[in-house]
Symmetry: C2
């Protein structure tokens, strides 16, 4: 199986597996226990927190380890959502964990539109305009890169606009971390990340909570994470997450390695565009690993199953919404017609994917397109 669904989850990398096993063997005690052997786990946890903070150009005390980005989003947005007479401003293509946790309380939620297809980005000028209007939001939440299209926002400009307006800025960095260097994300007041999106284990993630976000609290019931998130710390998972990030950063900070991967994606795009496929999202700013493909014909599950038969794992957009009948909210936000959106398939490579993987995928797509065209030609009945 050639795996092109890395935006849904990634295989556990060797460094993460080793770190998890080592921690489970040697550092499994409760870091809150009072004897020296447990204190060593506390120190190891502190070291992991410092290393992650280093990657994020943050202070260690800004890091809260969570069970993943969904919990981290709920921690931040759940808090803001519970405040009356506040408005939260969120981008139109945010992940459901941002949108739904923003909408979980009594705060008002305003949606900031994205530029229409072919773009999908938040326009910083539009954001600045909105921040000058009333009511001034208590929080802005805009993602770094979209999980379905891979479109990258101009986080530097967004952070500047928010800072000028003195509105805290939360940035969902789930799809960015492990694919791009930190860059302008250091300027966001809050960041969310999830280990299993960059080679770490499932069930671990983090929030970086800058001072501008105020005093936030997630799960109650223990003094862990500076009193902000109760529950015994999952040190083996945390150690594995940090090991995975360390490993991913080595590729991500290698400009040549990334340029090569961008070229593979471009060559793939050239071929499929030549076959009549559209692509959702920005041409100018997109992750090197993601293509949201808009086939000229064929319903999306038909594409997924045909590609699976040929040994390729691709998705129909966000894994979280799989099985839902409705078309993707992301594609709706881009103004892509429903009929087109219902054909959309998401291709997301990983660090280990090769040029020949991309080319083999293009070959398979070409064959399937020919098959579907031939099958659909004589009859108008859609077969699955």
């Amino acid at each position: 199986m050639v795996y092109f669904d890395h935006n849904a989850t990634t295989p556990l990398c060797a460094e993460a597996r080793e770190a998890w096993l080592k921690a489970s063997e040697e550092a499994w005690m409760n870091p809150s226990s009072p004897y020296p052997a447990a204190s060593r786990v506390r120190h190891a946890l502190d070291a992991a927190r410092e290393e992650l903070a280093g990657h994020l150009d943050a202070r260690p005390e800004e890091i809260v380890f969570t069970s993943g980005a969904t919990e981290a989003a709920n921690l931040v947005l759940g808090h803001f959502a519970r405040q009356r007479e506040q408005t939260l401003l969120i981008g139109a293509t945010e992940h459901p964990c941002i949108r739904e946790s923003a909408q979980s309380g009594v705060a008002k939620v305003d949606i900031l539109p994205v530029q229409p297809q072919p773009d999908g980005r938040i326009a910083p000028l539009k954001l600045a305009e909105r921040l000058r209007a009333k009511p001034r939001p208590a929080l802005v939440a805009i993602m770094a890169a979209n999980n379905e299209t891979g479109t990258e926002n101009d986080v530097e400009a967004i952070a500047r606009v928010c800072r000028e307006a003195q509105v805290p800025f939360l940035c969902d960095a789930v799809q960015w971390i492990g694919k791009r260097p930190l860059g302008a994300l250091r300027h966001a007041d809050g960041l969310l990340g999830s280990a299993h999106k960059f080679g770490g284990p499932k069930g671990v993630g983090f929030a970086r909570l800058g001072a501008a976000l105020g005093d936030l609290r997630g799960a109650r019931g223990g003094q862990q994470e500076g009193g902000r998130r109760g529950g015994t710390e999952n040190y083996p998972g945390i150690a594995a997450m940090v090991a995975a990030l360390r490993s991913a950063q080595a590729t991500v900070e290698d400009a040549q390695a990334i340029a090569t991967r961008e070229a593979w994606r471009s060559r793939f795009l050239e071929r499929v565009r030549g076959l009549g496929f559209g692509v959702a999202g920005s041409e100018a700013a997109n992750l090197w690993n993601t293509v949201l493909l808009l086939p000229p014909l064929g319903e999306r599950m038909r594409w997924v199953m045909r590609l699976a038969k040929r040994g390729f794992a691709v998705s129909t957009g966000s894994a979280c919404s799989t099985g839902r009948e409705s078309a993707s909210a992301v594609l709706q936000a881009l103004g892509i017609p429903d009929a087109t959106a219902r054909r959309a398939i998401r291709i997301s490579s990983g660090r280990e994917s090769s040029e020949s993987d991309w080319q083999a995928l293009a070959d398979a797509i070409e064959c399937i397109l020919a098959d579907l065209s031939a099958e659909d030609a004589p009859a108008t009945v859609v077969r699955i």
Copy 2:
């Protein structure tokens, strides 16, 4: 190091490690992804849910996998806490994750006292009396066995009283599961458990949510767990938790194995009582693994450090409250004087602990007591 801190956390058992590695190798895809290889992970997750439900005599759809019992407690009590003009009734010795999540919102929280030392249990008759009074609580939360003392509540009677009063009953089963058979816990409307307390990995737990608890929702942002808890499912962690439970149940359901362990604990108790030690909690109903020891002299951290030097890991009560200056809330609830409570140390064995471990611990305690007596005799200054 002879480890007597199993109530804080347990080492990962071999079965759990194997299950985690196997799942991380073979079943790491996102169970929500649409291709057949991901559907196999979905089926494996369904099978794990069914197996856990089987252990709990529950329906699979009642299980919500979480990152641990703290999240599970917050899921249930956070929901009830947000309701205005409701009262939640919780036992006086509940874990902070129950107490603090109950107190996190606008609902009123009533504390139900426990029987004083030497007991520590909720009296079902007192509960029944309280449930006949106004305001009638919207929820009762009473733990199966206490994390500090090991004292076991009469869950069967408590469940009956709650059922008669038609008030839903949530039971924190964290310290029970993996130490006792399910028994009367099947009658609770809700159960909470945490994998790392019974040989599973950290960062995984569950809630069993019976229909009487109503429609509860934790983290927002995905349709996972029947829409009740968003976030990519941690299948490797879940598989490891179920493997650990399966393994623990084999011991727990072996009445002879448990009786043997109870006898080891009793022999230890006999010896330390002979040395002038008190024991907090019930004589009649206590986990076979837990002793909350009340030394006749010596501050608790002094005991912990002396025992650590002799190779024993014991705790000062709940790991969650370690480092807090105040004495244990549990011991306060039992009416144990502060001066006595400040000497308390918690001893909690595991399935693998042997009779000679218990006896070696008693030997060490005897030596340390002699040392401390000799040291403290000539001067009244307390040395640490």
